[in-house]
Symmetry: C2
Subunit: 604 residues, 2 copies
Amino acid sequence: MTNGYIGKILEVDLNSGKLNEIPIDENTVRKFLGGKGLGLKIINDDFKPDIDPLGPDNVIVFATGPATGTSFPTGGRYHVITKRSPLTGLVGSANSGGKWGPYLKFAGYDAVTIKGASNTPVYLSIVNGKAELKDATDIWGMTTFATTDKILEEIGQPKASVACIGPAGENLVAMACIINEKNRAAGRCGAGAVMGSKKLKAIAVYGTGKVSIARPDEMKERVKEAIGKIKENPVTGQALPTYGTAVLVNVINEHGGFPARNFQTGYFPEADKQSGETLVNKYLTGKAACWGCPIGCGRVSKVPDGPFSISKSEGPEYESIFAFGSDCGVVDLDAVIKANYLSNELGLDTISMGTTIACAMELVEMGNIPESELYGLDLRFGNAGAMVEAVWKTAYRAGIGADLSLGSKKLAEKYGAPDISMSVKGLELPAYDPRSIQGIGLNYATANRGGCHVSGYMISPEILGLPEKLDPFVTKDKAQWTITFQDFTSVVNSSGVCLFNTFALGLPDYTGLLASITGWDLDDGEVLTIGERVTNIERLLNNRYGVDEKQDTLPKRLLEEPIPTGPAKGNISNLSEMLPEYYELRSWVNGKPTEEKLKELGLS
Amino acid sequence: MTNGYIGKILEVDLNSGKLNEIPIDENTVRKFLGGKGLGLKIINDDFKPDIDPLGPDNVIVFATGPATGTSFPTGGRYHVITKRSPLTGLVGSANSGGKWGPYLKFAGYDAVTIKGASNTPVYLSIVNGKAELKDATDIWGMTTFATTDKILEEIGQPKASVACIGPAGENLVAMACIINEKNRAAGRCGAGAVMGSKKLKAIAVYGTGKVSIARPDEMKERVKEAIGKIKENPVTGQALPTYGTAVLVNVINEHGGFPARNFQTGYFPEADKQSGETLVNKYLTGKAACWGCPIGCGRVSKVPDGPFSISKSEGPEYESIFAFGSDCGVVDLDAVIKANYLSNELGLDTISMGTTIACAMELVEMGNIPESELYGLDLRFGNAGAMVEAVWKTAYRAGIGADLSLGSKKLAEKYGAPDISMSVKGLELPAYDPRSIQGIGLNYATANRGGCHVSGYMISPEILGLPEKLDPFVTKDKAQWTITFQDFTSVVNSSGVCLFNTFALGLPDYTGLLASITGWDLDDGEVLTIGERVTNIERLLNNRYGVDEKQDTLPKRLLEEPIPTGPAKGNISNLSEMLPEYYELRSWVNGKPTEEKLKELGLS
């Protein structure tokens, strides 16, 4: 079986149990590439307002891009789009690495669309050329780790890749994620709960097909050149392979942008105890890399003893260290690793989980969550054991976990202090304080899926100086930079590759590599326009769910409370200095693309 | 509403949702009293072989005794009988204190029988004179603590008592228990899983009726005298109120009978770190007593900080300290308190839970459980964090918890070392090493429900010297003592009072008090014969499930491996010296009552 960049979608109707193959036309791919763009296109073609995110009318698309499964460096990713996220009520969006994406393509499909809902637990097996739904009654209830092993055994193909949900997804926890190969997560926006609501436990994929390349010799050259750039780049060639993403802990903390105690400040004095360097020195037992990745930022770690011991663990990533560590006031990296591990095992997004726990800790310290709701769990900043317990209690909705499972926004609303939720549009904020790093704040406020760092990773220019160094404290020019980063990231996520290669590769590299794969006569302008189109179609969908400029904001704390400690002491986010320019450059009015813009992008 | 000792049974058919009232005749009560005896009688009248313990044909009886809810000191107990235990496959038996038993009686019923199974979650409300089944869909999944609060709120009677199951019972975990008032457990034999299989989440009871006493003035005098004895007795008047049941930790350890590391030895050098004295000095914040109890052995404790912090907790009991502490090689009392707390919260029997974890730890250290099954959990003796994690993983059948949820017998069988399960008839052994205390070993081997200490609490004479001191190392006369204790305990459990009063009260006290309640002309012989009848009817039922003398034994280790350390070093259990005499005195052949014996007891 061989397929190229224009392949087919497997459409699964869980109401009827029927499977269909739908061809993808070249026009769609040239407009949206694949991955995120394709997912949004499918959702858009089938839009219905007012659907229940956890009802049968929600739709999940798992989509690879034209670069997935090719020699494009880091071409190992797939994107997940849900019509509506249980956490935000908007379009849900997340992506993941590992080998699941390439294997889906090798099995003959570019994307899988899941509609309807099954009455009994099922999993989808796309293995050795046969796609079928299988009974998952015996697997329902299992952790992601056990599910993976059990399905690999059942299908008799140990090399296959399994993307699945854990108990959190089954229990419809709003921040439940999808886990593939046990430790790679399509983390954000609660797609795991959507799978759970459909009683879809997993999708196993395996195939031996190849992805055809239009200009293979040219591709070879371009890949060689790209790998060279990745190897030579200090971030992708040195920092990430050596220290993993946790290399950022000390870097961001020294910029005064490492949020601590539910963003009460942007500086964590004990940060070095949970840094990438400490991780390497005290915990690292090996490294891991996704399919086709020359960087290899993955960590294999071990907590040899103590109350949080783990024989073997992957991670933790920088974001997870922030979420379970500094943001919860927890210094002990052992506990952070345990919380990260349990999140993978039970199927929880670490960012939303940790940030929601941090929110609960502040609500407890404020006296807003009464003792009677805590059932003995002493959820206060710095209590490592309570933090870890809160993770599994959320996955199972046990005790206060039932409230945590709603996400920080609904939690803070329930307990009478909505401003204490550090989220945008219901999605919890990641590990960069927008008071210290102005551009990332603009991105948080405008990113379609809510409080997201990877929609437009402004940390790259503002902190890492890639492709050039910007002053993180100033707002000038950040609107254009953010827009370019957002649209370029839409290209990345629609191509099926990893954002991390963009530390070394720029738009021209993408244009070249995509041209080699597709054989199209592409230029940088066309490619960036695809990105802009993808950004705008997602915005358009969210507008239909009610998003306008009122939602393009940040938590009050970040706009009004100056950072009390650290190198960025005294700073606030000057979002209002950037937003008007952003809208103007976007041609958005009241947070909505103008008709002219939509026409220009072929979206009207 | 007023009812006496001869009242009525509420029979609930969950298949049809119908509730019936069934009168209890005086003859039945005079033969079986109530509580355990009544439960067994009901089960026996309806016996069917080969039923699935987790199928709709299993039956649960909740029964009070004639003393429950009266002024008989410690008259706060109810007994739970299941036709078949998921842990042992035999009759399941457990009892609990608190106020649930008296409140059931005050609500107008002596017992509740549950038959069939519901399709959707329900709970039974017997409040203010009305018994009804209510929808529990929204409550299903909740912990025992949250369930209790939710139901009290729903029924609008905050003084009511709720007996319920937690996630463990819902998930059909073999050692799931029933919890009333959040911290009192009908612990052993897995009745929680039977409730779970019937989708019965809870039974809430409340009423204002009184229990009529046949000779109230005489009763008053006798109660006064009994309370005097309880207050004067060193165990019930001093040791238990001051230190709780944990007073036994140092006592039993100094006798070399405190089992450690899955009974690898009977001495734990660090025992004092988890003793009743340490509990009082470092953790105690208050005391608790069951309804009508002048002893008050309950503990209210707190773990103020550290990885296992808890704001407020009840317990732990001596048995739980052994199970999660010494038996798992865990010294840290913080962790023991946390494991005990989670067991209550999730609805797990602490003895079977801890002993099963200890069994798993030995299997891991032997190399019998491979790393691939552990999913990172480093289950080795002394690992406090892994022990605590194993508790909640069992309740949710997560990872290795799925295997632990089977109980130690099936776990050890699965991993190829059945002798490593420290159980009798599938029920895990409690906190006394039968190599150091011979009589308790005979009780373990012959107790109807399996490895049980409270069927015939030989610790009382062998260690505490009550009513007289026996040498724990010798076997002579232990058969008769064990039989007498077993039969007397059957009286205790059928009366609806607490075994702990027997440290101070003897058979004549019981005879007198029961006579005052019932108005019958009782003598000690008739009362002890009731006990013998109850012991024998339980045995008879178990014989029909296949029990014969082959099952009346102890784990090989205790019969063959001399204790390697401590004051009882070199000892083994000399069970074979006691069993033949036991059978002869019982008139049992091949572990079965003779026809003559049954005739004599009116059971043929």
